[in-house]
Amino acid sequence: MTTNGKTYTAIIRVQRFNPEVDQKPHMQEFSVEATADTTILDALHTVKHSQDGSLTFRRSCRHAICGSCAMNVNGKNILVCKTPLRSSLDKRSRVTIRPLPYLPIIKDLVVDRSTFWKEYQRVRPWLIPPTETPEKEFRMSPAEVEALQNAETCIMCGACYSACQVVAMNKTYIGPHALLKAFLRVLDPRDAAPAERLEDVGGEDGVFRCHTIFNCIDACPKGLNPTQAIETLRKLAQKRQAFEADRLERQKTIAAPVVETAPGD
């Protein structure tokens, strides 16, 4: 870690809640010495390792790929492992850290993500391949792959789900995370069940409950766009028979070379 050695003091305000002793959550302040490189996660580690070992939070990879460390910092959902501490401080050098909102708190900054995972499972986020698999490989055009890039990058951190006002009001809503995954599978030309998927997400708990509040886009640490995915699913859900017919046509040539990718063109 390269720094010029200069340190500064930051005040970390963390929400604490120990169900064994506390009636309700309360804020606690810790003072840490930080350098220009310190991330919010580093600061939390400093508190845990040298000041209060009972501070509890989830983290794993430390480089924005596992999705464990999503928390609410200064009112916004972010990944704390990739957010510099310095730029999150207010005028009084304080940063306020709370767990992801609208979800039950297990302890301190750890929340119960059961509904998040339940909805993810519900949309069957795996590929349902056609019954006849090609001898060699599935062939997709660059344009078809491009359409999936955005949704594939999701790390399932929960920032979007927890920021969504519709989720906040009603946990039966499927949620932006799962709908983005459903979008990924619906648009995948290898997937053989688009009409079923569209019927499921087009039902009363799915894409038509989104009120385009856009909190999901604001919260996503990977810059993904669940709202646009949901809008696309809305359009497709209204003409799912036609979409399924197109898919069946496409799958007739899914093993054939794609003309646009011929080298040298």
Partner: protein, 115 residues
């Protein structure tokens, strides 16, 4: 509460929507008095032309215009890929609504003050 321009837009849209539904009930009660004869109708219509109701009419205009333009914003978001401009679209809708409320509200205000 997770506050953002999207949330404010959503909340105001809902609030004005509910207010307008309640207004509709009142409006139907007033206009519906024509079924009870011209005297009742005239009396009720006169009652809602008083200054206090004229002021409320300006608020009604604000609610209608905000709800309509936020709704137009939603239609644009639904039919075009404009999520990148979501904040600007919200500010634009709000600004248009504010301008129309002032433009439409001034004549009402003048009438209210001059009788």
């Amino acid at each position: 509460m997770y506050t953002s321009t999207g949330f404010i837009s959503f909340f105001l849209r809902r609030f004005t929507g509910v207010a307008l539904v309640l207004y509709l009930g009142l409006h139907m009660w007033v206009i519906g008095s024509v079924n009870a004869g011209p005297e009742v109708f005239d009396a009720r219509l006169a009652a809602v032309q008083t200054p206090i109701f004229k002021f409320l009419e300006i608020l009604l205009l604000a609610a209608v215009v905000y709800h309509a333009f936020d709704g137009i914003r939603l239609l644009i978001v639904h039919y075009f890929k404009v999520t990148e401009y979501r904040k600007s679209l919200f500010y634009a809708a709000f600004a248009v609504a504010a301008i129309l409320t002032i433009a439409g509200g001034i004549p009402i205000l003048l009438f209210m003050l001059n009788g």
